[in-house]
């Protein structure tokens, strides 16, 4: 039932994304228009995939660090990706793939650094240190990013700034195919870890008594969720609040068991981001808002509501 509803919502979002846009196409021409096939459709599909990836990464990371307010970007990834991207812009690296690759490398570098910081006595990953290490690495990367931006020329600065707020204007079928080839492995790994993630909510020791191999679980989940986030940030920039709010919305609606939570978080994140992107490119048409601004404007009130509920309940 819930999957039917979500599939319906996904189709409706996709239809809306194809129908509306600055080029006011007559309904009859939609099916044959290259604007629909080469611009709107790949863009909507990519937004859906990225939203889904962020939803799943956020859900698993909240379970891993056992902190309901965790976000996939809290672990330093956005800082690393931003640094990579801004460095690519400042150095005028050529080619369409220079920016996403540099962002990916930056995110994976931050991930590796935070991971290393998080390994304490006997090679055990400490989620609390992951969280604090992520904040520290993110702050460091942010400082370097700002230093580069402050030395850059005005047009570069604008490009870098816009990239940091995320967007899908560069979407193409190639990007979609890269995401489709890349995402299933980390997604599959996380979905296979669904039941142990339920156990982890009890704490590490109780989870072990209920059969979870916690040591391995923490490493696998951290790596899979980070790699998923790194890919999302590489193709779309830093899009906040999807990975934070979607897990909570799904938990409220469909309960806390990850077997349901992870797939529903994928679909909900996808619907949300595809819809947010449609808004981002239409509300101020023919210009465009970075999609991260739309998700923040929608996400912050929802998050504030959840925070209140958390402290009151």
């Amino acid at each position: 039932m819930k999957y039917l509803v979500l599939a319906g919502a996904a189709l409706a979002t996709l239809a809306a994304a194809l129908l509306v846009g600055p080029a006011n196409l007559p309904l009859a021409d939609l099916a044959s228009s290259p604007i629909v096939w080469q611009l709107r459709l790949p863009r909507a599909v990519l937004a859906f995939l990225v939203g889904g990836a962020l939803g799943v990464a956020g859900t698993s990371l909240q379970a891993l660090v056992r902190n309901p307010l965790a976000d996939p970007f809290l672990l330093g990834l956005s800082g690393g990706a931003g640094l990579g991207a801004v460095a690519a812009i400042a150095l005028h690296l050529p080619g369409p793939w220079a920016l996403p690759l540099a962002a990916f490398v930056g995110a994976v570098g931050a991930m590796a650094l935070v991971y290393r910081l998080g390994l304490v006595g006997g090679g055990e990953l400490d989620p609390r240190i992951l969280l604090l290490g992520g904040v520290a690495v993110g702050a460091l990367a942010g400082a370097i990013t700002t230093a580069i931006v402050s030395l850059a020329e005005a047009t570069e600065l604008r490009n870098a700034f816009l990239w940091l707020w995320g967007g899908f204007s560069g979407a193409s079928w190639t990007t979609v195919l890269v995401m489709l080839a890349y995402a299933p492995l980390p997604l599959g790994v996380l979905i296979a870890a669904a039941r142990p993630l339920d156990l982890l909510a009890l704490g590490e020791e109780p989870a072990q008594y209920l059969g979870a191999d916690v040591r391995r679980l923490k490493r696998v989940v951290y790596l899979a969720a980070s790699l998923l986030t790194a890919a999302a940030v590489a193709v779309a920039g830093v899009i906040g609040f999807v990975g934070l709010v979607v897990p909570h919305v799904c938990r409220l609606l469909w309960g806390r068991l990850h077997r349901t939570l992870l797939p529903t978080a994928f679909l909900t994140g996808g619907v949300l981001l595809a819809a947010a992107d449609t808004l981002a490119r239409t509300v101020v048409a023919p210009r465009e808002l970075p999609v991260g601004i739309v998700t923040a404007l929608l996400g912050v009130p929802v998050f504030a509501f959840l925070l209140r509920r958390w402290t009151v309940g």
Partner: protein, 267 residues
């Protein structure tokens, strides 16, 4: 192999990483099916470490641990969770959940990666709820339960694992008299009716003496005494271990400890 033997510790010594001294020194224990053993001792005497050592969570410096005839460190966590159900002292409830979901977690070690929750799992879940008098609570949110109800639900989760051994770490801390007695009776019933082994850590010397077949007394990581309550719980041992003067008096054939007032207080 001793068929009834569930868990055996032989001369177990262990130390936490970076700790200055050993947390357990040469402790031995043999627990058979149908037996309830109580572990007594002051705070920091190594009671919880004993559980962790028995279940392979702390590395041993010396000695060996066997569970059902197999060295503890060769068990995977999942296989171990199919034969040992544990009530840890502390656990978190990060996200709100209902009682039935909580007890279902006890079935996780029995579920396959892709398979769902089957009829056998549902039956085990209902049996566990009924055994712990928690069937009426099944649809309640966990955070609405009283302390006694919460412990019964956690025991139901452990029983849903269909274990051969129950390990309970201070299960009645902060419970009132009725709920405490109910929990002890419940554990004893499981041991007698289904031949489970039970290892119970507690501060309640007198209840341990009434309910347990064997008592192990720890002090500073060493076993001070081990055996039937009447043999072990003497005035000298208890006074030395708990560092307080006591007298021991018998009730229904079991020793009961009564702490004395300080002399200058009751002239």
């Amino acid at each position: 192999m001793d068929r009834g033997l569930i868990v055996a510790l032989r001369g177990v010594t262990c130390r936490y990483p970076d700790a200055a001294r050993d947390s357990l020194v040469g402790v031995s224990l043999e627990l058979r099916a149908g037996e309830l053993h109580a572990v007594l001792g002051p705070n920091g005497s190594g009671k919880t470490t004993l559980v962790r050592a028995a279940l392979g969570l702390v590395p041993l410096v010396a000695g060996e641990v066997e569970i059902l005839g197999r060295p503890a460190h060769t068990w995977s966590r999942r296989d171990l969770a199919r034969v040992v159900g544990v009530l840890p002292q502390r656990e978190d409830n990060l996200f709100p959940q209902r009682v039935r979901e909580t007890v279902l977690l006890g079935r996780y070690p029995h579920l396959s990666l892709l398979g769902g929750v089957g009829a056998a799992d549902r039956a085990a879940l209902e049996r566990a709820l009924v055994a712990c008098d928690a069937a009426a609570l099944a649809d309640r949110w966990l955070w609405t339960l009283s302390g006694g109800e919460y412990q019964r639900v956690r025991l139901a989760r452990a029983l849903a694992q269909e274990p051969r051994l129950l390990v309970l770490d201070e299960p009645t801390a902060s419970l009132d008299l009725r709920h405490e007695m109910e929990l002890f009776e419940l554990v004893r019933t499981q041991v007698d009716a289904h031949g489970l082994g039970a290892l119970l850590i507690t501060h309640h010397v007198n209840l341990a003496a009434r309910f347990a077949d064997q008592v192990l007394i720890l002090a500073e990581g060493r076993a001070v005494a081990r055996g039937a309550p009447a043999d072990v719980l003497t005035r000298e041992t208890a006074a030395a271990v708990f560092e307080w003067p006591v007298v021991i008096s018998a009730f229904e054939g079991r020793p009961q400890m009564i702490p004395l007032r300080k002399k200058e207080d009751h002239q």
